[in-house]
């Protein structure tokens, strides 16, 4: 409830305007020679880090865009991208 998320279009807003879209895992793998194991890893397996993770959010009650943020899963606080990327 107390989470805030910074939308690249609309700015910092209350967490309930957004929908979670999972961890950032990179684009869909090429289908050629893709074995079931690797596919399952991509779709279902998560790192579930205790700490800062990059993750997708959808601004459902706003501009309707998908974007990533960095969030500390232990404090539920968003981190600024610049400082965390260092």
């Amino acid at each position: 409830m107390a989470l805030t998320i910074t939308c690249p279009v609309c700015g910092k807003r209350n967490g309930y305007e957004f929908k979670y879209g999972g961890e950032e895992k990179g684009p869909r793998p090429e289908e050629k020679d893709l074995n079931p194991q690797a596919w399952c890893e991509y779709v279902h397996m998560n790192k579930c880090v205790a700490g800062v993770q990059e993750e997708w959010w959808f601004h459902k009650d706003g501009c309707g865009s998908w974007f990533t943020i960095l969030r500390d899963t232990t404090t539920n606080l968003e981190q600024e991208k610049k400082e965390a990327k260092k």
């Binding site: 805030t4 929908k19 684009p27 289908e31 959808f58 998908w66």
Partner: protein
């Protein structure tokens, strides 16, 4: 009714405006401005309630609702905190937890049985054998507890909610809070003040002592100063004040929650408030730390602030003859004020041997009021209210008894640190003040005023300004230097005063209550410590001290002090117990808020209701499910099969997707090869998720170059944009998707006579040759209403799906109704459609599928195009893996052996174990058979397999069906193509 004092400027009542209320079936009067508690007090009521466990008489003790002493039933709502509830005309007030009345409670004998009930007695007794507990529990529940609520009780009142955003949120509208607000607001910031009382002013507001400002201010009382600050606050447009608003929670990123109690003029009774602030200032000030002695909660014992505010705010002299037993200068000040208002003060016992304000001492001497330093009250005598008090020197050497009807008792002050701790701040015991002071504060949270241990009015105000500027600094509107300058000026003002540490008078403590709500005595605490509980947090749980409605307001400070002292360890650290939200008891209905009906209505809603539609909530919509009380919809179905009908299908998801990369996006989400979608024709396709499970189906057509129009099922419409954008989020494709679901309505005109009806209102050839099955046409009705028409066959008959702008829906509907009059056109509802399409074995996702059902299971593999690997179609990988699995559920059609005996939807297909379930089954009027569709284990899906069906409440009797070819009705599909 007592005469009210009427000359003080501090009064908040209007003695001329009487307010009538009912108490114990008799009419009483209070005055405007009264709380329920003060109105009862004015009418001579001294016993408000009986206590939870021992049924001891309880009266007015504080005036801010820190204990359950004055919880009563008001207008059928139990546990109303009467001290915080303003009196309204016609209120009906009742006592609770009494057998008889609060004055004469037949359960009061329990008070003598306390020896049977040591700390934690119900953990230790009544559980061996286990069968005793249910019986014992019933008896305990009868005897103990607060108000009662019947299960069918419906909460009256209007509840609202608001979610303001602000720069600075200030909790507490006392002097330091107001100064902080003014300082921050003058820096151009938006400020919110939350104040629990119905007015601003806090610690200054009810006091008439001198404010002692700089020389230029002349003589000004604290009350005048509070008014001055109030005016200053109100003059600033960027300060929003919420009075009668309690803060109840604090969460990450400075999210502050609370609730406001509405005034008579407000449109709500209570309103939930959730404030998002950049910076927070906690200025909650102090409450009094209760003095513990024998019978310290007898009616007639009250705190300093309670006695003083009864007089100064409500015009009620709290008693006739009073004895004070206090440990703070506020007690001396109150004694002087109350004495000048006519209260006889027999004696003041001050815990402190020295350190009193010499000016106050002089005034007491002038008034001939006896002050005993180093003395304390030991026992209040009097069965139902105070008759006399036994006092003793703190060392217990000397004692005396004084008769009185009022004991003003308080051990000292204690800061209201709840907001700090629930915001995850840490507290540390401070030996000088005896307070728990904020030690480590979270980012952008500041404390001020008496929370810093300050007591001097000027120090309090200056600290408020500092906090306001610090908040401004958080918002980058203030310089560090500016704060430094004011901090210097605070250094020249009086700092925190030394506080008293005494918790209890020298007594054994069998009837000395540390927590009123839970009837916990000092003796109980000792018992818990002797059992080995050494931390206040554990003792709190074992003795339940501080777990009542007051949320630790009474024992919060005393418990850790006492525990530390009693254990007599050399290196004991004094730890406070944890505070959790809600800080103040909050109604569930306040949290629930306004309870809007959040269902959508189609443009035809009103008309369909007038036509006798029986509505049901379907997903986010309200839809007409039936048009008669015959829930089998026989007439509606027969009308479609043989004549013509109209269905409002406006809930269908409708989307336009366009742009250079629109086709790529479609290829990603739809399983078919979307490059084959043509202008003028409809294509049916489906969407899967990454597991190959089918999530949506619909039709699509091409409107023009890079421009498509498609439908989704009703339930998926809300997620479609999100879904498509999610699955194309890495691709940076250039397309745009527009949700037209609400801007377009849909009429499904179906039945053999549908063409004849439609032909009457359009000016074009709609013969089967000109407008064939599966085709798409755009035309205008009456040259102005643009219609997108598609020939589909969901119900298995000739039908036209007309997509019409919502604003024209009613017009087109009425034209069709008019045109169809000669054919006796009828409405049909969602249930008739459900049966009609089931007979055709057209699936509805969610009904013929569940979470795990994939595209192949429901027999839609013909939609899947395997040649577009480059599109990375969602679900394709999983589908090619699932294809090899023969054990998956399969969708089959079945016919029942017994006619007229269709199983309920959801019945199980069984043999020795569960083998599947019935999706939809009905007695078909068109076929004169009971038919349905079911998802069954792969091996059971062969034509001719006998299915054993288990229905709920079938008493062991199974019913049987047989797998047959699909569809059941018109297998060649000639009727929808005619």
């Amino acid at each position: 009714m007592m005469n009210r004092l009427d000359h003080m400027p501090t009064l908040k009542i209007d003695g001329f405006r009487k307010i009538g209320f009912i108490y114990k079936k008799k009419k009483y009067y209070g005055v405007e401005g009264d709380t329920v508690a003060t109105a009862l007090y004015a009418n001579g009521i001294r016993i408000f309630a009986r206590s939870l466990k021992y049924h001891r008489p309880r009266g007015l003790y504080s005036l801010d609702g820190e204990c359950s002493n004055t919880c009563m039933e008001v207008d059928n709502i139990p546990n109303v905190r009467c001290e915080n509830t303003l009196l309204k005309e016609g209120m009906v007030i009742k006592e609770q937890n009494v057998k008889g009345s609060a004055e004469n409670d037949m359960m009061s004998f329990i008070d003598k049985m306390d020896w049977m009930m040591p700390a934690g007695f119900y953990y230790n007794t009544m559980h061996k054998p286990a069968s005793i507990w249910p019986i014992a529990m019933k008896q305990i529940r009868k005897a103990a507890g607060l108000g009662t609520l019947s299960p069918d009780f419906e909460m009256p009142g209007i509840y609202d909610e608001i979610f303001p955003t602000t720069d600075v949120c200030i909790i507490g509208g006392g002097p330091s809070g107001m100064m902080a607000a003014v300082a921050a607001a003058k820096k151009g910031l938006r400020v919110i003040i939350m104040e629990a009382r119905p007015w601003l002013g806090g610690f200054f507001e009810y006091r008439s002592s001198q404010y002692k400002p700089g020389k230029d201010k002349g003589s000004q009382s604290l009350h005048d100063r509070a008014l001055e600050l109030d005016r200053e606050v109100n003059a600033l447009e960027n300060i929003r004040v919420f009075t009668h608003t309690s803060m109840v929670g604090a969460y990450n990123n400075n999210l502050i929650t609370g609730f406001q109690i509405g005034k008579e003029s407000d449109l709500f009774d209570q309103r939930y408030i959730e404030i998002r602030a950049k910076s927070v200032v906690v200025a909650t000030g102090c409450i009094e730390r209760p003095l513990i002695f024998d019978n310290n909660e007898r009616p007639g014992v009250m705190q300093i602030g309670c006695a003083l505010r009864l007089a100064n705010t409500y015009g009620l002299l709290p008693g006739q003859k009073a004895v004070f037993s206090i440990g703070h200068d506020l007690g001396l000040e109150a004694a002087l004020e109350l004495s000048s208002l006519g209260l006889n003060i027999e004696l003041i016992a001050d815990i402190r041997e020295d350190g009193q304000n010499p000016e106050l001492l002089q005034k007491l001497e002038d008034k001939n009021i006896t002050l005993l330093k180093g003395w304390v009250a030991c026992k209040a005598n009097g069965k139902k209210r105070v008759k006399n008090v036994e006092l003793s020197s703190i060392d217990g050497l000397a004692s005396k008894t004084v008769s009185c009807d009022l004991i003003v008792a308080s051990a000292g002050m204690t800061p209201v640190t709840g907001p700090v701790t629930i915001a995850q701040g840490k507290l540390k015991y401070d030996a000088h003040t005896g307070f728990f002071l904020a030690d480590k504060l979270p980012e952008k949270i500041h404390v001020t005023g008496r929370l810093l241990g300050l007591d001097n009015p000027l120090s309090i105000e200056t600290s408020g300004t500092i906090a306001g500027l610090q908040a401004a600094l958080d918002c980058e509107n203030c310089s560090i230097k500016e704060i430094g300058d004011i901090k210097k000026s605070l250094k020249n003002l009086p700092g925190p005063t030394r506080g008293t540490k005494l918790v209890t008078a020298p007594v054994k403590g069998r009837k000395s209550f540390i927590c009123f709500d839970e009837d916990t005595t000092i003796k109980n605490i000792k018992q818990a410590i002797e059992k080995g509980f050494d931390v206040p947090e554990l003792i709190k749980r074992f003795t339940s001290a501080g777990t009542g409605p007051g949320q630790g307001g009474i024992p919060g400070h005393n418990l850790p002090l006492y525990v530390a002292k009693y254990q007599a360890l050399p290196d004991i650290s004094i730890k406070p117990t944890t505070t959790r939200p809600p800080l103040v008891p909050t109604l569930l209905s306040t949290y629930a808020g306004t309870n809007h009906i959040m269902l959508k209505q189609t443009p035809m809603d009103k008309m369909q209701r007038e036509d006798g539609g029986i509505f049901r909530n379907i997903g986010v919509w309200q839809r007409a499910r039936y048009f008669s009380n015959d829930l089998t919809c026989k007439k509606e179905i027969e009308n479609i099969r043989s004549n013509v009908g109209m269905l409002d299908a406006s809930t269908l998801g409708k989307f336009r997707i366009h742009g250079p990369d629109a086709l790529k996006a479609l290829q990603r989400v739809f399983v078919s090869d979307m490059s084959k979608v043509q202008q003028g024709r409809m294509k049916y396709s489906a969407m899967c998720n990454d597991d190959g499970c089918v999530i949506d189906d619909g039709v699509i057509t091409k409107l023009g170059e890079n421009d498509y129009y498609f439908t989704t099922s009703t339930g998926r419409a809300g997620q479609t944009v999100e879904w498509i954008r999610y699955h194309t989020r890495y691709d940076k494709w250039n397309f745009h998707i527009v949700n037209l679901t609400d801007s377009m309505g849909v009429i499904n005109l179906a039945g053999p006579n549908a063409r004849k009806v439609l032909a009457k209102i359009v000016d074009m050839d709609i013969s089967n040759e000109a407008f064939g099955f599966s085709e798409y046409k755009e035309f205008n009705i009456k040259d102005c209403i643009p219609v997108r028409a598609m020939r589909l066959g969901f119900v298995g008959e000739l039908s036209y799906e007309l997509h019409v702008p919502s604003s024209y829906m009613l017009s087109v509907w009425l034209m069709l109704k008019d045109a169809g009059k000669e054919f006796r056109i009828q409405n049909f509802g969602v249930e008739a459609q459900n049966v009609l399409r089931m007979e055709k074995c057209h699936i509805i996702l969610g009904q013929e599928s569940e979470q795990r059902t994939n595209l192949l299971d429901v027999g839609l593999e013909f939609l899947w195009d395997r040649t577009k690997a480059d599109a990375k179609t969602i679900g394709a990988v999983a589908l090619s893996q699932a294809e090899k699995d023969k054990d998956r559920f399969k969708l089959v059609g079945f016919k029942m052996e017994e006619n007229g005996r269709a199983p309920h939807d959801g019945s199980l297909i069984v043999d020795e174990k569960v083998r599947g379930y019935v999706c939809t089954a009905r007695d078909s009027f068109s076929l004169n058979e009971a038919v349905g569709m079911a998802l069954v284990d792969g091996p059971l899906s062969k034509i001719g397999t006998r299915l054993e069906i288990y229905e709920d409440e079938c008493n062991g009797k199974r019913i049987y069906g047989k797998v047959v070819e699909m569809p059941f009705y018109d297998p060649e599909g000639s009727r929808m193509k005619m």
